[in-house]
Symmetry: C2
Subunit: 335 residues, 2 copies
């Protein structure tokens, strides 16, 4: 294990460590001949400046911490890609952690990130109440935080999310326009789910359709749960003629039930899901879905972070990105 440090290079090039450092940092006032000698030494020795040492010395921060809640969910996967792409051009690295919707795991990671002196944090909170304080304290310590996807009430930060409420409204309005009246909904109790539920209400209200509580279900993030909720809905004396599934895993669970039941989609029950999926077209009923600009969510989060690092005192910014309803066949009509 040949440890080549800046000293090795300095010795080889017969200069001081300071000079080597200057050359590597493109300090202009280095004699061109010496510069050459150093560069050659670097080349020959295959020297890689130690980033850990550099980071400690310059107190520079070139790592972005990212904490998401479910790395197996394509939604987040695409977000990460967006973050990574903007980080790459800025020569920043990302340390990725998966909280697994577990608040204590998230808080552990928060501590780690702080100890790693990350430049800033992009985080998808899981349980606002338990995490608010830890997050705020990190922010107070000068590490900027960008909230992604979910909000935390009473916590002033930069954030990006999608217009959940309007997206959901469009989805449900689409169903209503196609003549559906008994529209079941399955959502989760994160802030996103709640907002999507509001959009559902908006659409029903607009059409003067009374809210039937028996058609409203909440589910956790497990697919089994949405499976059960869908079963319950379909077992109603008068089952729904349409379903609005408020996130991708729920949609999968619901589809499974409909398939099992031999329900015809959309004839017996129409279906719109929140979250588009790359394979939406290949599903047994090509899925009409509210597509989120996931890649842009990631990009925007990263950009907000970069901006905050440049101008720490800028007012907080809350970006809301639009969704897009992609009409396929699961509701019965292109519109």
């Amino acid at each position: 294990m040949p440890i080549v440090t800046i000293q090795t290079v300095a010795d080889y090039a017969r200069v001081s460590r300071a000079t080597v450092s200057r050359v590597l940092n493109n300090n202009p006032k280095v004699d061109s001949e010496i510069r050459e000698r150093v560069l050659q030494a670097v080349e020959i020795l295959g020297y890689q400046p130690n980033r850990v040492a550099r980071r400690l010395r310059t107190q520079s921060r070139d790592v972005i911490g990212v904490i998401i809640s479910d790395i197996q969910n394509p939604h987040f996967t695409s977000i990460i890609r967006g973050i990574e792409d903007v980080a790459y051009v800025r020569q920043m690295n990302i340390v990725l952690c998966n909280s697994d919707e577990d608040s204590s795991k998230l808080q552990t990671y928060l501590r780690v990130m702080q100890a790693e002196s990350v430049a800033g944090l992009i985080v998808v909170p899981t349980h606002a109440d338990q995490e608010r304080e830890a997050l705020q304290s990190i922010q107070r310590n000068g590490i900027p935080i960008i909230l992604l996807d979910r909000e935390i009430e009473g916590f002033e930060v930069d954030s990006v999310q999608v217009d959940h409420r309007h997206g959901a409204y469009e989805a449900v309005a689409h169903l209503i326009r196609l003549g559906r009246r008994r529209i079941g909904i399955i959502y989760n109790d994160f802030s996103t789910g709640w907002q999507r539920y509001q959009g559902y209400i908006d659409a029903l209200n607009e059409a003067h359709i009374p809210i039937d509580r028996t058609l409203v279900k909440t589910s956790d993030h497990k697919r089994e749960s949405s499976y059960d909720r869908t079963r319950e809905l379909m077992a109603l004396p008068v089952p729904p003629d349409a379903l609005f599934t408020a996130f991708n895993l729920v949609t999968l669970g619901a589809l499974h039930v409909l398939h099992e039941l031999g329900a015809r989609v959309p004839q017996d029950v129409a279906l719109v899901g929140f979250d588009d999926m790359p394979w939406a077209d290949e599903l047994f009923s090509p899925l009409t879905a509210v597509a989120q600009p996931t890649y842009e969510l990631g990009q925007t989060a990263a950009r907000l972070l970069l901006r905050r690092l440049n101008t720490p005192d800028a007012p907080f910014q809350n970006e809301i990105l639009p969704t897009q309803l992609i009409v396929r066949q699961s509701c019965g009509s292109a519109l």
Copy 2:
């Protein structure tokens, strides 16, 4: 930005930095009264030891570098989850990079990882020939490497992969057993694709079915490419009566074509895919697939790395994990 360092704590507790450090590192020979005082100071000041400094000083390595080729592919996503889970219990962090199947990007990341003094690297190579040297040089510098999913000829390392050849053999043998004879294949030219192709050959040979070159197609990692290849296969004077699609993106492309063509699956053409997908059951034809133990792949890679770190001189280990054929309806029979 209140910077609380070990000195702050030492002052507060009226001891030396050395003592604070000892307390934090659970050094037993610290007076219990003093220990208490330090612990209290730590608590009150909210002190987080700076990991960057610690890492530099102890030359400790507690970061695992992971370079995968496509973070949006569920295959890798599940692998990452496996890695992360074993890293978490060891209190190690992972730095994740996405090479995007781009060899120069991968090499950039390799340099970064080295400069970050990672404990070791888990990497999915993309173009063996271009990366062999860089990888070997890192290994020579004492940073262990675990190759994941794909091999590099003539490079001795620890590695994990799945039994691609046998998995493919089983898939194709399944088709043959169901009476299919004109079996098309679409694979890619990574080492994995090549091995899967061998499995296809094995099954045909065993059944004494001659290889028809017109039924053999290669595709890159883009879905469009597999779309085109499937179109070509289906446009043959005598189209195939079965398709073996050798990785998940290809399967999606093929399904799309079959859907467009109105082909009945499995009546007109049976389909087996390599790679299972969480939504395989909800596809328009529930997919019979060769499932890879992706989570275990990740776990195994991480464990191999940990083992190598413990015993640097152990002989190299090449783990081959078994696949499992999951029979659904796309081939026409549960068998």
